[in-house]
């Protein structure tokens, strides 16, 4: 049965082990945004043993490229982007302390294996709900790679940001299980 959790970042191993695919989580605290180009730079930094622009330990990365904020707003619309493009980078980040990723769409086996081995989870947020999710972001500040525009790394403050656990640290996958339940075979 699906459970509801309220969690604050940074996430701990204990937080992670309490989560199961299909659970609903309301996240509060800090999220870091990063997309394709920013991920490449983060992994390059790790490989060169250089300092990262934010602490990875317990961190949650949100795969998002928001619209520009209107005057007076911290951020524009901010729904998740498709996650598979980050698949080649995520296992390295997980190994070095990343605990959660928020995106939409399938992850590959390497990411799922890394979640199991190093205790991390992949959360799904509702794709296209950019207006709704952008409203739940109380503060946003570019902390690295401003020149990347929508792909820059931002530090977000969120309150009760709604996500669903897709891949948990036990190897479960909500996309596969949910689909099996409603599939009609000939």
């Amino acid at each position: 049965m699906s459970q509801v959790h309220y969690l604050t970042t940074p996430l701990t191993d204990e937080d992670i082990m309490n989560l199961k695919a299909g659970d609903i989580v309301y996240l509060s605290g800090t999220l870091f945004t990063a997309r394709d180009a920013a991920h490449k730079r983060l992994v390059d930094l790790i490989e060169n043993k250089e300092e990262l622009p934010f602490p990875l330990q317990g961190a949650v990365i949100y795969f998002v490229g928001p619209t520009p904020p209107k005057p007076g707003d911290p951020i524009g619309s901010a729904g998740p982007t498709t996650s598979y493009r980050m698949d080649s980078y995520s296992p390295t980040l997980i190994k070095y302390g990343l605990k959660g990723m928020i995106g939409k769409g399938k992850r590959n086996q390497e990411v799922k294996d890394a979640c199991k081995e190093y205790k991390a989870v992949y959360f799904g947020a509702t794709g296209g709900a950019g207006a709704l999710l952008g409203k739940l972001i109380k503060d946003a500040k570019v902390i690295a790679y401003e020149e990347l525009g929508p792909e820059a790394i931002r530090m977000l403050k969120v309150e009760n940001f709604p996500v669903t656990v897709i891949n948990d640290a036990y190897g479960n996958d909500l996309y596969e299980e949910g689909r099996k339940q409603y599939e009609v075979k000939d």
Binding site: S2, G22, D36, A37, V64, G65, P66, T67, P68, P69, K70, G76, S77, A78, G79, T81, T82, Y84, K104, G105, K106, G124, T126, G127, G128, A129, G130, A131, L132, G134, K135, G149, P150, P162, T164, I166, L174, Y175, E177, G178, R179, K180, Q181, Y182, E183, V184, D186
Partner: protein, 283 residues
Amino acid sequence: MREIAYEDIVKAVKNMVIHTATNLPEDALKKLKEAHEKEKSPVAKKVLEQLLENAEIAREEKRPLCQDTGLAVYFVKIGQDVKITGGLLKDAINEGTEQGYVEGYLRASTCDCFTRENLKDKIGYNLPAVIHIDLVEGDTIEIEYAAKGGGSENVSRARVLAPAQGREGVIDFVKSVISEAGPNPCPPIIVGVGIGGTFEKAAISSKFALFREAGKPHPDPEVAEFEKELLYELNKLGIGAMGMGGTETVLAVHVEKNPCHIASLPVSVNVQCHSSRHSHVTL
């Protein structure tokens, strides 16, 4: 010869781009509401609720429905009795697109294919737009516009089948594309299928099919029947809203059929996410 000024086209396009980013059109909204009513999975039903709430917030607060404000795609019908004064039609559409994306606080999502750089002076503000022009009778310009997101576009596929594969082959191909896409294109989706013509004709037809009012059957009853059959088959996949499992994966299937070469059977599938942002203007 009726004259239409370049500046009037720029203005009309700009307004359309800004309006479309924040207002989910009635046809898409109606289909989402129907899906919400019919959905059997409680998880998917909750997602659909969020999407309806999102549309309301976007409209009321003039926030973009989705952070992916798309690449601008136009189908333009220009009457042959129209003369455009003051510049080229293509330039006017591009200028209106740029103004709309900048003034509407929409995301600049265009970049160089290889360097991935967003060069705002050249291509940054969603330029150049993708424009399909058709010359028709009359003295008006009809511009149909869609903001096409990357997530759903990425799962679109085209293939040239062998004629012997026939109708069943088309169904199998469409099913395989949507099954493989799973949660990635932000279901519930609208599926455009272009059949026949040549390779590129099938692809353009599949995009054109997405511009039709959501769920409106094709005027040819045989094609309309095929659309119904595909819709039924695709919803059996169980993908559900955002891929979390459910009965309502596809809101509508639109098929466009063209005669083709005796040796080939081209078919293209173009996917539209639930945020089906499209509108039109007639000048």
